[in-house]
C-alpha cells in the first residue's frame, strides 16, 4: 500500500463514519459537529483529487459558514435540542429498503463505467487551475451566465431570508 492509499482509506472511513453519525445521533449539536467532520473529510478528498481551491472553498463555505449557521439554528431552537421521543419517523424500514436499493443501483452502475478502475491522470505540472477557474467564471465564452445568475440568486435569497426573519409590528 502506498501512502496515498492509506491516507485515502483513513479519510474515507472518517468521512463516512461521521456522515453515518449525522444520520443516527440523537443530539443535535453532536450531529452538527459530525457534519463538520464530514465536510472536513471531503475537503481532504478534494486535495487528493488535485482540487486545492475547492478544498479551501469547502472549508470556508461549508465549515465556516453553513455549519456555523446550523449551530446557530440549533441553539435558537434549543428546547428540542435533545428530543426524548423517537428520533425516527414511522416509515423508517421503508426508507432503509429504498436507500439500500438506491445504493445497490448506483454501485452496479458505477462498476459498469469504463473508467472505474483506471488511474486518475496526473494534472500537468504547468497547469494553473486557479487561474483557469477564475478566467472561466467571468469569460463570456464560458461561465459568465451561471456566475451572474448565482449572484442574482444570492440576492433573492438574502431578501427572502430577511423577509422571513422580519418581526411583524
Amino acid at each position: 500500500m502506498t501512502a496515498l492509499q492509506i491516507i485515502f482509506l483513513i479519510t474515507a472511513v472518517i468521512t463516512l463514519g461521521a456522515a453515518a453519525m449525522v444520520v443516527i445521533t440523537r443530539n443535535l449539536v453532536h450531529a452538527a459537529l459530525w457534519l463538520i467532520m464530514t465536510f472536513f473529510g471531503i475537503s481532504v478528498l478534494y486535495v487528493l483529487l488535485n482540487a486545492g481551491f475547492l478544498a479551501v472553498a469547502q472549508v470556508v463555505i461549508y465549515i465556516g459558514a453553513i455549519s456555523i449557521l446550523m449551530i446557530f439554528a440549533i441553539m435558537l431552537t434549543r428546547r428540542v435540542q435533545q428530543d426524548f421521543g423517537p428520533q425516527t419517523n414511522a416509515a423508517w424500514p421503508w426508507a432503509l429498503v429504498i436507500a439500500a436499493a438506491l445504493f445497490g443501483g448506483l454501485i452496479w452502475i458505477f462498476s459498469g463505467w469504463g473508467n472505474f478502475f483506471t488511474q486518475a491522470p496526473v494534472m500537468g505540472e504547468r497547469a494553473d487551475p486557479l487561474r483557469q477557474l477564475g478566467m472561466a467564471l467571468v469569460s463570456p465564452e464560458q461561465y459568465v451566465i451561471p456566475f451572474e445568475v448565482a449572484s442574482v440568486m444570492l440576492t433573492a435569497a438574502l431578501i427572502g431570508a430577511i423577509m422571513v426573519a422580519w418581526e411583524r409590528k
Binding site: V23, L35, I107
Partner: protein, 100 residues
C-alpha cells in the same frame, strides 16, 4: 495514484446516507443536514469525474453548488427558526395542521 472509481463509490455511499437521513429523521435541522450530505456527495462525484476527464467544468459546477447551498441554508434556517417561534417544535411529524 488511486482509481477515480474509489471516490465515486464513496460519493455514492455518502449520497445514500444523506437520502436515508432525509427519509428517516424527524427533526428538520437534521433533515437539512442530510440534504447537505447529498449535495456534498454530488460535489465529490463532480470533482472526481472532472479529474478523470481532466476537465475544469466539473470543478466550476461544484463552485455553483456551494453558492446554492449557501442560499438555501439562509432561507431554510430562517424558516426553521420562524416555525419554531410559532409552534415550539421543528419535527416534521408535527407539521400536520393541514388535514384532508
Amino acid at each position: 495514484m488511486l482509481p477515480v472509481g474509489y471516490y465515486i463509490a464513496l460519493s455514492a455511499i455518502l449520497f445514500t446516507l444523506g437520502a436515508l437521513g432525509v427519509l428517516i429523521r424527524r427533526n428538520s435541522i437534521v433533515i437539512f443536514m442530510s440534504i447537505e450530505l447529498m449535495l456534498n456527495a454530488g460535489n465529490l462525484a463532480f470533482v472526481a469525474f472532472a479529474r478523470a476527464y481532466q476537465s475544469l467544468s466539473g470543478q466550476i459546477f461544484v463552485f455553483f453548488i456551494m453558492a446554492v447551498a449557501a442560499a438555501e441554508v439562509a432561507v431554510g434556517l430562517a424558516l426553521i427558526v420562524a416555525i419554531f417561534q410559532t409552534k415550539r417544535s421543528i419535527d416534521v411529524d408535527q407539521l400536520n395542521t393541514m388535514q384532508g
